[in-house]
């Protein structure tokens, strides 16, 4: 079998389990909160409008943004209360998805209770039912099909949206989709999407069975549907709860691109060889990753000096690389007790790149040359570059003003320069595609772009852990840029693609020999 499919399928059972557990818990909370609220609001016109308004508002926030918002919110909450609230992983994903599940449950619940035949209500009151008896013997049974339809909608939405939990470090089927997108491993994307779809359809089908059981007064259908659902959830829950506690497990973080996956794999290999258990938190956003490390949600990851310099220290000046590294090591230690172990040996700097033929035709070699022709050209940037100080710095120093500017996810940005839809892109200097696509990097004579040395960072809890530091030390200074480019290319290229784990073992073959 194709190693990529084999790898995706091997990860599938754990991811399906995590996915099911997360979405099941979110829908359960949605029901536990939404149903009582619906009962309350159905009889309270003044509460109804603001409540439905709030739930509707939540729904208009894109799920991805909602998930991302809970990270800083929980972080602030944790600092304010002094409690150890995990800001990454299961908790923020659960809260966001529960909120998301609320609207259909609330809306259908209210509609169901308001739609009950007034004759049945008058009869219930007239024969002497208490409010409670009326609710449970008349209103709920009569509203059940509509209530259940709301739960079905919530379940399908939640299972779909749970794929995004990957971005806040909660494993889900989204792991396959996001990493597959980054490495252009479409089979992996397909496996992730198909698994999520099958899961959604299966849950929807079981709830439909319960719904038809209610309609036909068939206890058998209701029981069959509910017990199958309960069994699936129990299955999802048991192995996770039976797992040994996270105390001895080192959590390795990675941002959302191939190089990060490869380096995280390389770190994992070193740690495992030294006898550690490891776990991964992939696809972390650029600032989320550092904050997760500072908060101890992840233990080790690789970040880049320029990114930390501007995003974390908030500095706009551009010092020499060695000076930047020294200040970072001192400041991060002081701020968050984070250990900067050292540079891996290569830079992944922002660099403006063009196709060689295009650059030669326009006579562009440096950013100075580019300033003259930029108004006639289109810039393709990654998702964050245009909002970063580097862009302000480079555009003002060279007077760059492009005819058009577009943002892409990195994969599509390289596609855009290759097919000519963008003339200049914000490439990364360690990217294997620079050589593969025959791009040239434009020189930066005025030093507008800071250095981006890859640095290995360790969370405060392990900063003095000699066994862990010892295990990782061989990586320091061991990865020259050519090797990193080659490893990146192995993963990113179209033909003879390798998985990040395979690239990591090529990059750092010594990890196995001890």
């Amino acid at each position: 079998m194709n190693p990529a499919i084999a790898e995706a399928l091997a990860e599938l059972p754990d991811l399906v389990r995590a996915h099911l557990l997360l979405s099941g818990a979110a829908v359960a909370i949605g029901v536990a909160v939404g149903l009582p609220l619906a009962i309350w609001a159905a009889g309270n016109a003044r509460a109804r409008t603001p409540l439905l308004g709030f739930a509707g508002l939540v729904q208009t926030i894109p799920a991805l943004a909602l998930l991302a918002l809970f990270y800083p919110m929980l972080l602030i909450l944790g600092r304010a209360t002094g409690l150890a609230i995990p800001a990454l992983g299961f908790l923020p994903a659960l809260i966001a998805l529960s909120l998301y599940a609320l609207l259909p449950i609330l809306r259908n619940g209210i509609a169901a209770l308001q739609g009950v035949d007034p004759g049945a209500i008058e009869a219930a009151d007239g024969i002497g039912m208490t409010r409670r008896q009326r609710l449970f013997m008349v209103e709920m049974p009569l509203g059940a099909p509509v209530i259940l339809a709301g739960i079905r909608t919530a379940a399908v939405w939640t299972i779909g949206a749970a794929t995004l939990a990957t971005t806040v470090g909660q494993p889900s089927l989204g792991n396959l989709i996001f990493s597959g997108l980054q490495t252009e491993n479409w089979l992996r994307v397909l496996v992730g999407c198909a698994a999520a779809a099958v899961l959604a359809l299966a849950v929807d089908g079981l709830l439909a069975l319960v719904e038809s059981g209610l309609k036909r007064r068939s206890r058998r259908r209701i029981l069959l549907g509910l017990t199958t659902l309960a069994a699936a959830l129990a299955l999802a829950f048991l192995p996770l709860s039976g797992r040994p506690g996270g105390g001895g497990t080192i959590v390795v973080g990675a941002k959302n691109f191939s190089e990060q996956y490869i380096l995280a794999s390389a770190i994992e290999r070193r740690l495992r060889a030294a006898g550690f258990r490891t776990e991964r938190r992939d696809n972390l956003g650029s600032t989320v990753a550092y904050q997760a490390l500072a908060a101890g949600d992840i233990d080790v990851y690789v970040d880049y000096s320029g990114t930390l310099w501007t995003n974390i220290l908030g500095r706009a000046d551009i010092p020499l690389p060695e000076e930047m590294r020294a200040v970072l090591a001192r400041e991060l230690e002081r701020r968050d007790h984070v250990l900067v172990m050292g540079a891996l040996g290569f830079e992944n700097a922002y660099a403006l790149a063009m196709r060689r033929d295009r650059a030669q035709a326009l006579g562009v070699r440096s950013l100075d040359d580019l300033g003259r022709v930029a108004p006639r050209l289109g810039l393709g940037a990654d998702l964050e570059f245009l909002t970063r100080p580097e862009w302000r710095s480079v555009s003002s120093r060279y007077g760059l003003s492009f005819g058009a500017q577009r943002s892409f996810s990195p994969t599509f940005m390289y596609r855009a320069v290759a097919d000519g839809s963008s003339d200049v892109i914000t490439a990364f200097s360690s990217d294997g595609r620079i050589a593969a696509l025959d791009l040239v990097i434009l020189a930066d004579p005025r030093r507008a772009l800071p250095s981006y040395d890859a640095l290995l960072l360790v969370t405060s809890r392990h900063a003095r852990d000699a066994r862990l530091i010892g295990a990782l030390r061989p990586l320091i200074g061991a990865i020259p840029v050519e090797r990193m480019r080659q490893a990146n290319l192995m993963v990113d290229r179209d033909a003879d693609k390798r998985t990040p784990a395979e690239a990591a073992s090529w990059l750092d073959p010594d990890a196995d020999r001890r």
């Binding site: 035949d117 007034p118 004759g119 049945a120 209500i121 008058e122 009869a123 219930a124 009151d125 007239g126 024969i127 002497g128 039912m129 208490t130 008896q133 013997m137 008349v138 049974p141 009569l142 007064r217």
Partner: protein
């Protein structure tokens, strides 16, 4: 001996905004009586009826049943002791006929062992075959559904039956036969019945006593015979005149043939 009346309504006032639905209404009903409450739409007759089982809470005045103020009991307990039948029928669509009829004993915590027999007995009372017990409400005609409604109201052996236009939605033939069947039940079971209707002929033919409400006040309170003989109040007179004239014209039709 000066025994208090079975049902005593004293000085009831109920306002809907500026409009007085009930304006100082007092009424007493003896055990075993069949009283019809008649009057035009909006005259307050339904409000009066619902004040008795507290589906409506009056602004002033009080209602005593068997000498006790109805407010002394929780509303739900009070209502379980009073049969209630209304135009909308209100059978619970998710319960079969037996479950509908058995609902009040179930609320009272009755032993389920007696359910089958009691349901059959109640269905027999309202002239429905025992095998109707397993039917769902949607499988019943309007008349059959209201017979089940009556059986449900009778299930807890109520002290008092309150009926709000109970046969109002039925076709004339069904309405007539159901009305007479209920009057028989009233006599056989020794019930006390208060029935709201806007159909004066129905009231005259079924009730022992007719109370006419207009604009929230009692304008007449008499036996059907006394009322039919004549009345000083021109509005009440006009109401009674309609069925009498109709009866006369129908009789003339018969003579002419």
């Amino acid at each position: 001996m000066n025994q208090p009346p079975f049902l005593a309504v004293e000085g009831l006032i109920k306002r809907h905004g500026d409009q007085a639905a009930l304006d100082q209404v007092s009424l007493s009903v003896a055990k075993g009586e069949f009283v019809a409450l008649v009057g035009p739409s909006g005259s307050g007759k339904t409000t009066l009826l619902k004040s008795i089982n507290r589906l409506v809470e009056p602004d002033a005045g009080e209602v005593r049943l068997d000498g006790r103020n109805v407010r002394d009991l929780p509303a739900s307990a009070l209502r379980r002791g009073i049969g209630y039948v209304f135009q909308g029928i209100g059978l619970f669509p998710h319960m079969d006929v037996a479950e509908n009829v058995w609902i009040v004993p179930r609320l009272e915590g009755a032993d389920e062992a007696g359910k089958g027999e009691r349901v059959a007995e109640l269905l027999d009372l309202v002239a429905l075959p025992a095998d109707f017990a397993v039917r769902m409400p949607r499988e019943l005609s309007g008349g059959q559904a209201q017979r089940v409604g009556v059986a449900r109201a009778l299930a807890a052996e109520p002290r008092l039956m309150l009926m709000d236009e109970p046969f109002g939605a039925l076709d004339p033939v069904t309405r007539d036969s159901l009305g007479r069947a209920y009057r028989d039940l009233h006599d056989r079971l020794g019930l006390t019945t208060l029935m709201v209707t806007h159909d004066v002929a129905e009231a005259l033919l079924l009730a022992d006593r007719i109370v006419v409400l207009i604009g929230g006040r009692i304008r007449a309170d008499a036996t059907p015979a006394a009322l039919a003989a004549g009345c000083d109040d021109p509005e009440v007179q006009a109401m009674i005149a309609v069925p009498r004239r109709q009866a006369e014209r129908l009789a003339d039709l018969g003579m002419a043939r």
